[in-house]
Each structure stands twice: as C-alpha cells, then as structure tokens.
Amino acid sequence: MKNLLDQFDDLPDEILIYIFKKLYNDEVLYSLMDVNQRLNRIVHDTIFTRYLCLLEYWADGDSTYPLPDPILDRLCSKILPAIGHQIESLFLERTSIERVLCATNYPNLIDLGLCDIQFEAAMVLFFGK
C-alpha cells in the first residue's frame, strides 16, 4: 500500500488550493498552518490571508457568535501575528474585537467590520471614552 504521506504530497499545489478553498479562510489557517512547511507556504498565500471573518452566524443569519475559544486562542497567539501584515479585510464579533485587534498590527487593513457592537462600546474601544 502506498504511503499516505506520499499520496497527500503527490497532490499538486493547485489541487490542494482547490480543496482548501472549500473552507473558510479561518478554518484553513487554524487547521493547516504549521502542519508542515509545504502547507505553511500554501496557506500563507494571500488567497487565504487577505480576508478573514472571525465569527460565526446563527441560523437566522442576523446575529453572530464568537469562534470557539481554542480556535480564537490559536488565531490570536500564533496565526494573526504571522499574517497580520497580509490582512486587508477583517470582520469581528463583539466579544472578540479587542482581543483580535490587540493580537498584532494590521498595516494593510482597509476594511474592518464590527458586528453586534454598540456605539458606546465602540467609543470606549477606539477613543477611550
């Protein structure tokens, strides 16, 4: 029987990217960053890092809830510091806004979406009042 590693590594980058694009970008980064050097190179492509939506929607589609803690922990401690400079669009949920924004710098961020945040909370977060 052929070694499984060989089989996975036999898939060309194009096929792996095609597969990974079936997932949301945060799922790609959480599950595949640091698996090995080759996958690291692939998931660092801006296809997967330019746009990040770090929240989930309830079935009604109108309200949001945060990503599970283990995923958010890893995103904030390892992943965002590594790709912060590549992120152009970032969508965050109320309870994780401060944590994600403080995780690293986002020098190329041009589009920030804050979901379910109240005006007073935004004033405190951005202007300290």
Binding site: N3, L4, N36, T49
Partner: protein, 201 residues
C-alpha cells in the same frame, strides 16, 4: 406554417440526437478503454477540447493520469450526472475581481446522496480517495475531513511528518530563492514578538 414548424422541430431533434449519439473512446494509463457519449464528453473540459480539436475516429483519447480502476467509476459518475443542469462557471481564478462576493459561503456539505454513496467506495486507507480526488467530488470530502481539526490532527490524519522550519526544500530560504510570488513560511525565531497595535489614535 404548422408543417414548417414541425419540420424544423424534427430537424432540430434529429441533429440533437445525432450529437448525443456520437461516441468517442477514452483510454486509461493501463490500457482500459471506455466508449462514452457526448453527454459524458461535455463534463470533461480536457476530453471535450481534445475531441473538438481532433477527428480521432476510433483512436481512444489517452488519459495518462487516470488508471482503469478509477476511470470506470468516473465514467459511471459522468453518466449519472450527464443530464444535470450546467454548473455556473467556476470562480477560482477571479480572486482579484473587485465585484466578487467575498461573503459567498463556501459549501462542502452539499454533496447529493448518490454522490455520497459513490464516494464511499474510495478510502484514504486504500489510497483510492486520492486517485478519485483528481477528477470528482473527493475535494469536498477532503475539505470536510480537514474542517475543525487542529494542525496536529491534520498531520495525524494524513500521516504527514512535521518538517522543522529552516530545513529541507520547503525551508524559507529555499522558497525565497524561488519565484518569490507566494509569501514564505513564517520563521518564528526571525519574526520575534509582534508589537502591540496603536488602536486608531
């Protein structure tokens, strides 16, 4: 008037039937040959292009990346789906399109029941899932297997060895010396601690 319309319809029907009844042969890399009709041909851009460009006659189109044991179920899959509505054009190459809806959900749990039963015949253990992935719905199955897994679980699931940063062909230095269009792997030792942001003031 009615006669003319009927004649026209008959002619169109005949033409369609002729197009549908046209068959070509395809051959796997181990010599297995299948005869497929136009409905099946339409589902493979490679085969369709070749059959459009060349008058092959009885010469089978070679498929060097597909072995016979995989080609048979692929033909079965295409025969089952040949009357499906045409899919919308793939958007894989338009990542830079400013009009692209970036909020569009990426579904991988929408495999129909027939396809789910079809894909059960192929397994990671036997290696056949990786063969079929080159051609059919296996991509979605792999994506579902990865979803929600930690990187260590992905490594274990696919028996991938961890290659430490800075070593081997995929090391950052090796990658940077290549084309350089794709961002390189993070070298945590070189990156150092990230500075805290100055939140918009």
């Amino acid at each position: 008037m009615a006669t003319t319309t009927d004649s026209s319809n008959t002619s169109a029907t005949t033409t369609t039937e002729n197009a549908t009844s046209k068959t070509i042969k395809i051959q796997s890399n181990d010599g297995e040959t299948h005869e497929i009709d136009q409905g099946v041909v339409e589902q493979s851009s490679t085969i369709k292009t070749l059959s459009d460009l060349m008058d092959l006659g009885d010469v089978p189109i070679p498929l060097p990346n597909v072995k016979g044991s995989i080609l048979t179920p692929i033909v079965e899959f295409c025969n089952y789906h040949k009357n499906d509505p045409k899919p919308e054009p793939l958007d894989d190459d338009d990542d830079d399109d400013p009009n692209k809806d970036i909020y569009e959900p990426k579904r991988s749990d929408d495999i129909c029941e027939w396809d789910q039963n079809f894909i059960k015949r192929f397994t990671v253990q036997e290696g056949t899932l990786f063969d079929i992935i080159m051609a059919t719905v296996g991509c979605k199955t792999i994506a579902n297997m990865v979803r929600g897994k930690a990187s260590s679980e992905v490594r274990e699931m696919f028996n991938i060895s961890y290659d430490p940063p800075g070593e081997g062909l995929n090391a950052p230095n090796a990658i940077e010396s290549q084309a350089g269009t794709v961002p390189t792997t993070q070298d945590t030792s070189a990156t150092g601690p990230s500075p805290q942001p100055d939140p918009m003031n």
